[in-house]
Symmetry: C2
Subunit: 193 residues, 2 copies
């Protein structure tokens, strides 16, 4: 019996890198097959359509974000400590696979309507985790003058924009970047009036 | 004598919207011509290549950012007041034409090497304006514990990521968003240790 899992993973990895580099619409199934030294037809033994590949990449990324951050949001810690860990986890997901993060941020809008709605709902749930923790901080007096919506936007803008400039071989590790970002944003949430 | 300027502007506008919506690589000159009800060939009476259109859009955006922000960086005001105005100007450029901002952020990397290097140099110059103002704030004791590089990254991450979520018909105006962002980031730069 042939195990097709590794081949399928190769397809997702190669497609993720190609979608990231040149965009979903500019990448054909034939391009992906060629990159993998496969016949175009044999690609379809593993996957049904190019949109299914996009869906797999985007859905996995959304799940990674939620599964990494959700448990941290409910820890019995002050809001600032939870927020710091949540941002670190977010940055870790983005930087662990920059290609897939790029596809998640740029290309998810090319999914069909039902799948796009599913991802939009997951993004809403994810943003709400950050808003709620900041709201907890407001209620507890840690962030007395903060606006939870703007605070969550700042955290996620900083964490997301990383995919554009972060280089794994750069001077700062992902963890160091996340810690420095958290320092400034948490100071801002504490001190803003 | 026929004035071709308005036609050329239409081409840039239409191409900007199409590059933003579906990506540079997935948009052909034929697509742009069809959208404008032109013959593919007559498009070439106005422009030489698709890359020239991308270049025009990206180069204009880079110039808009620099021309809007550079004069503010040197104003005889405290660093926090300059930074607030610079972020407002940045947000104004992004939100005034979201399609062109999207093309500027996503598609500039598809320019040829010389043009890409030119834009990269302009981006470096632009980021340096923000770093220097924050550095002024550090020197003046306004931002005693701040790191200029991380501060500039936060300002630009927040200002850039707007192109993903800002809706002109949303609850907050671009100016209100910029002001709220500035409140938190400047508080963070003041209070961070």
């Amino acid at each position: 019996m042939m195990d097709t899992t590794p081949r399928k993973e190769q397809i997702f990895q190669t497609a993720g890198a190609m979608f990231s580099r040149q965009g979903y619409h500019a990448t054909t199934m034939r391009d992906i097959a060629r990159e993998l030294n496969m016949q175009g037809g044999s690609l379809y033994a593993h996957i049904d359509s190019k949109e299914d590949v996009l869906w797999e990449i985007v859905e996995r990324a959304a799940a990674q974000f939620l599964e990494s951050v959700r448990p941290l949001a409910g820890l019995p810690l002050p809001a600032s400590a939870r927020l710091r860990r949540m941002l670190a986890a977010h940055v870790d997901v983005v930087t662990r696979n920059l290609d897939n993060a790029t596809v998640f941020f740029h290309e998810w809008r090319f999914l069909g309507p039902a799948r796009r709605a599913h991802i939009a709902a997951q993004r809403d749930e994810y943003e709400a985790l950050f808003r709620r923790v900041i709201q907890d901080g407001v209620a507890a007096g840690e962030f007395p003058g903060a606006d939870a919506r703007m605070g969550a936007l700042l955290v996620l803008s900083a964490g997301n924009w990383l995919y554009q400039w972060f280089r794994p071989d750069g001077a700062l590790s992902a963890a160091a970047v996340a810690a420095q970002m958290a320092d400034v944003i948490i100071a801002g949430l504490r001190c803003v009036e």
